[in-house]
């Protein structure tokens, strides 16, 4: 361990320092937090972004801590999305928590720790670091979900999340153990070298299967999705947004790392498992979202559907890996690029949308029915517009970031179908498209309520809570970012680079 290692994990150290600072300042006798607390958390995350910016240009592909952490564009890109989403969550939560008299210092500490865990998962290249990141993230989130513990849904959410989450971690560790048993290595690159060219041992495939199940729990892919709606509904609304965006970013980061490096040889059984998982996840998520009355629950189910679209890109990434020239066939980065853009677009829109819901809901974390949005346009024109744009982005309408993301993911599937001639990939793209049509229906219910329905008379006189500057700032920035990314600045180049870096570092580890 030397100076380079420390400098390389600076994006994690900044929030860590902030979190420790907040803990040090904590005062037992006070129930609320000091005004300094959120400031410190914000500084920590800005520092993290600053560190990423400093690391970005030169230090790519460096292995830190003997290969446990790798410094490449892929991980740093995920780090940016995580930091931005956490920042937005904190800014949105200040007022939300104050109104519910829950403005505790611990909240900020936990968000920072969760962010550290998420970033670490994207940067890890070793089973132990992945597990470490996952646990730091998960344990913080278990507590965050139960923040409003006086309300039974929130307590239930926390408990449910904890129980299923621990089970998932168990599966992951079990799988890692099998992989270790099969290869004698915990290092992704090391296993990659061993496996190049040969047939994977059945034990390794089984281990990968268990690891996939563990990570699938985290992103709530079918059939491991049961916990999600209740947890998302019970958790404080800003935390729900944070979970929906952050956990997906981290878990998909880890899935890509594991599958791109370790899983190189064809295993038909694993691929068809992923295929069915992807189809099942999008379909069940979308169909269940159709029937919801609560907006929060609708977004919860739709978050399952989004995991399905992302898995779609994983299926075909793997397809390119094994059908061309084995491991080295991973020459095009369409799917990784698609996933990165998708996560960015999804993260922004999700955090923004949940932020607005948090502002609008009346009792703590109680959620909001579609009817509660009726005619809101008259009272809150700008918020209504922002929420509409976020919904259109999640639905993938052109002109929003979500469209470019969806485009990237489907383009990956079509490309894979063309290069490999495997028609099941094409079928996957078509099923994905049909699913987004279903998605359209429930996303559109929101703008319909906002614009086409009239405000109920009972609510006309109702005074809306003040909109604090931090809230306005986050909503406005996410709105602008969603539209700007949707009209296609060449951020894709930004995405290609990290993805290609992943390939390069994988190749380097082979030589």
């Amino acid at each position: 361990m030397d100076w380079t290692d420390i400098r390389g994990i600076a994006p994690l150290l900044w929030p860590l320092a902030a979190a420790l600072g907040i803990l040090a300042m904590a005062d037992k006798r006070r129930t609320g937090s000091k005004p300094m607390t959120p400031m410190l958390a914000i500084v920590g995350l800005l520092g993290s972004l600053f560190a990423i910016w400093r690391l970005w240009p030169e230090e790519e592909g460096t292995s830190l801590f003997r290969g446990a952490i790798v410094l490449d564009g892929f991980g740093l890109f995920l780090g940016i999305i995580v930091a931005v989403c956490s920042l937005a969550t904190i800014l949105l939560s200040i007022d939300y928590l104050k109104r519910r008299e829950k403005n505790l210092g611990e909240f900020y500490v936990l968000v920072l720790f969760a962010a550290i865990g998420m970033m670490l998962m994207g940067m890890s290249r070793n089973f132990v670091t992945i597990l470490f990141g996952l646990e730091v993230m998960s344990i913080s989130l278990y507590v965050l979900a139960g923040l409003f513990r006086e309300r039974s849904p929130s307590a239930e959410a926390s408990m449910k999340y904890f129980l299923t989450g621990s089970f998932a971690t168990g599966l992951l560790v079990f799988g890692m153990g099998m992989a270790y048993g099969a290869t004698g290595s915990l290092d992704l690159g090391g296993i990659g070298i061993q496996q190049a060219g040969g047939n994977p041992s059945p034990l390794l495939v089984l281990g990968l299967g268990f690891m996939l199940a563990g990570l699938a729990f985290k992103v709530a892919a079918v059939p491991f999705h049961m916990w999600l709606p209740d947890v998302y509904e019970g958790a404080p609304t800003t935390v729900t947004g944070f979970m929906a965006a952050g956990v997906k970013i981290a878990a998909f980061g880890a899935i890509i790392r594991v599958f791109a490096e370790v899983y190189q040889n064809d295993s038909e059984s694993l691929r068809s498992t992923l295929w069915w998982m992807s189809v099942g996840t999008m379909t069940i998520g979308n169909v269940a979202a159709l029937a919801q009355r609560s907006v929060k629950r609708m977004l919860a189910y739709s978050s399952i559907a989004h995991a399905g679209y992302l898995l779609l890109a994983i299926v075909v990434m793997q397809g390119r890996l094994d059908t061309a020239t084995g491991y080295l066939g991973f020459d095009s980065s369409q799917s990784v690029e698609g996933i990165l853009y998708y996560l960015l677009a999804y993260g922004i829109a999700t955090v923004g949308a949940f932020g607005i819901l948090a502002y609008l809901e009346r009792d703590a974390g109680g959620g909001l029915d579609f009817d509660d949005l009726a005619g809101l346009k008259g009272k809150q024109p700008l918020l209504a517009m922002a929420l509409t744009v976020f919904m259109l982005s999640l639905a993938g309408i052109p002109g929003t970031a979500g469209f470019i993301g969806k485009y990237g993911v489907f383009a990956a599937a079509v490309e894979a179908a063309q290069t490999t001639g495997d028609e099941s990939f094409m079928l996957l793209a078509v099923l994905g498209i049909l699913n987004s049509l279903v998605g359209l229906y429930y996303y559109l219910r929101v703008p319909i309520q906002l614009y086409a329905k009239d405000l109920p008379e009972a609510r006309e006189a109702e005074v809306m809570p003040a909109r604090p500057p931090a809230f306005r700032f986050v909503v406005a920035t996410s709105l602008i970012a969603t539209l700007w990314l949707g009209f296609g600045p060449d951020v894709m180049n930004f995405g290609v680079e990290p993805a290609m870096q992943l390939v390069k570092s994988a190749l380097e580890s082979l030589n």
Binding site: L392, I397, P398, G399, Y407, F410, A411, V414, E415, Q418, T419, A429, V430, I433, L434, S436, L437, L440, Y441, L444, P447, I448, Y451, A452, K453, G488, D490, M492, N493, V496
Partner: protein, 499 residues
């Protein structure tokens, strides 16, 4: 110049957003000024486009947009695009004037959406990059959805949702096909250094596709266009959308949005997938003819004037499809001409129906009768536009229909005969409408004091009638502009199928 025309309405929409929403006058005059300016700026396009010039597509403007994906901002027009662009810009000021009375609330939002819609429609007609086209194609649906959903009649939410889901059900498969074509080109570009992967329409038209690929892509593209046209049996969204949409929305829907389907067939489906088209023609003919007759029969039994006009739209657009898929010069010329004519006459009819509705708040035939005595000027306009719509010689509908039948007859006399019967039915129900509304005795007391149309309403109908007559008497200047494009489409089709 094209970009200026394309983005002026968009810019106007953004400007309107800055106006205080209670400033009704400024908003309405502002929207009108923007649409008029756009129209005036697009008139020189007519002179600037040289039919039979060195290249088919002229006035090209392009810039890199998302280079890593090969996506460019590229616009250009040929004769067909030119005429459709002029149609859009001609109709828009009329729509704005026509909406002054019927839009009574949230007018700022309304005009912003209307101007956005105009930009998107222009973009779709001008785009020379498939991705750009797709963007505009889908974006177009969003303002229309809000226009129907917010300002529409009672079951507006149902109608808006149906409209949105239907059109997107068409365009999402198209997205897969668009990506597929691009990936195919990229794949070939890797082998052939002379090609570059892009969404440019020229490059994509040069792709050699197997028959199976052509069929799948044609189905994906064709479904989308068929829904937009709309072709039987994908037409069911249209009567609902039209009936519930506010009148300006109906005018844009009938006047321009439906033309997107025909335009799409001409610009994309036929040149890119000729072999699949060749095999699909019999089915398309069957559907088109069936649609023409079926919609005409359904129109006969309507009691709501607006619904009747909506069904007559389905019937007339069937003729357009018939002409286009005759795949000879007369047929396509007729199809395009009929698109223009239908845009004017049906737009006019919707405006007229709205004028009646404003006065009596009903669109049922039975509520009217004999009102020509009270509203002679209105009756005159109504009759002229109706005659244009049913294809009376000397008015615009005749030219299009005549050319379509000329083209169709050469390919399939049977289809032509059936289609003519549809036109005869059309004359029947339209003239019956005129009789029921305007002639006979006044049976309702409410109709005794109807006031005739005022200056604003006359001013907004006059340009329409003028164009209807002009296009009927001197079709030359319009046909001349589209001639080379039509010829090019037919020739490339013929050479692709090997004649």
């Amino acid at each position: 110049m094209l970009s200026l025309v394309l983005f002026l309405p968009l810019f106007g929409a953004l400007m309107l957003l800055l106006v205080d929403k209670s400033n009704e006058k400024l908003i309405k005059y502002g929207a009108f000024a923007v649409t008029v300016a756009t129209f005036l700026m697009s008139i020189p396009l007519y002179g600037a486009y040289e039919a039979g010039g060195a290249s088919l597509f002229q006035l090209e403007e392009s810039a890199d947009w998302i280079p890593s994906l090969g996506i460019r901002y590229a616009v250009a027009i040929d004769g067909i695009s030119l005429l459709l662009v002029l149609l859009v810009n001609f109709l828009m000021p009329i729509v704005v004037v026509g909406s002054v009375k019927s839009i009574t609330r949230r007018y700022r939002d309304f005009y912003v959406l209307l101007l956005l819609l105009q930009s998107f429609m222009l973009g779709a007609f001008m785009a020379r990059d498939l991705f750009l086209f797709y963007m505009f194609w889908e974006l177009m649906v969003v303002p229309m959805y809000f226009i129907i959903g917010v300002w529409g009649g009672k079951p507006r939410i149902y109608a808006a949702m149906k409209f949105f889901i239907y059109t997107l059900a068409g365009s999402l498969p198209m997205l897969v096909a668009v990506i597929y074509l691009f990936m195919k080109l990229r794949h070939q570009a890797e082998l052939d250094p002379e090609l570059t992967a892009s969404y440019s329409l020229e490059a994509l038209s040069g792709l050699s596709l197997t028959l199976k690929e052509q069929w799948l892509c044609f189905l994906a593209f064709g479904l989308s266009f068929a829904i937009k046209v709309p072709m039987f049996p994908f037409h069911t969204w249209l009567p609902d959308a039209h009936t519930e949409a506010p009148t300006p929305g109906s005018v844009v829907l009938a006047g321009v949005l439906l033309k997107m389907g025909g335009y799409g067939f001409l610009r994309f489906a036929i040149p890119m997938f000729p072999n699949a088209v060749e095999q699909a023609v019999p089915v398309i003919y069957l559907l088109a003819v069936f649609g023409i007759v079926y919609a005409a029969l359904v129109a006969l039994v309507q009691t709501d004037v607006k619904r009747l006009v909506a069904y007559s739209s389905v019937s007339h657009m069937g003729l357009v499809v018939l002409g286009i898929f005759a795949l000879n010069i007369d047929g396509i010329r007729g199809g395009v001409y009929q698109m223009l004519a239908h845009g004017l006459t049906t737009g006019g009819l919707f405006l007229l129906v709205d004028m009646l509705y404003e006065r009596r708040h009903t669109r049922e035939f039975s509520e009217y009768g004999g009102i020509a005595k009270r509203m002679p000027i209105f009756a005159t306009f109504f009759i002229v536009i109706t005659l244009g719509s049913i294809g009376m010689p000397g008015l615009n509908g005749f030219v299009g229909e005549f050319l379509i039948f000329l083209g169709t007859f050469r390919v399939s006399p049977v289809a032509a005969i059936f289609a003519v019967s549809g036109v005869i039915l059309g004359a029947w129900y339209m003239l019956a409408t005129v009789r029921k509304i305007f002639f006979g005795e006044i049976t309702r007391d409410e109709n005794r004091n109807l006031r005739d149309i005022d200056g604003r309403e006359i001013a907004l109908l006059c340009p329409l009638v003028l164009m209807i007559v002009l296009m009927g008497v001197v079709p030359g200047p319009f046909i001349e502009k589209m001639e080379p494009s039509v010829r090019a489409i037919v020739e490339s089709y013929q050479s692709a199928i090997g004649n």
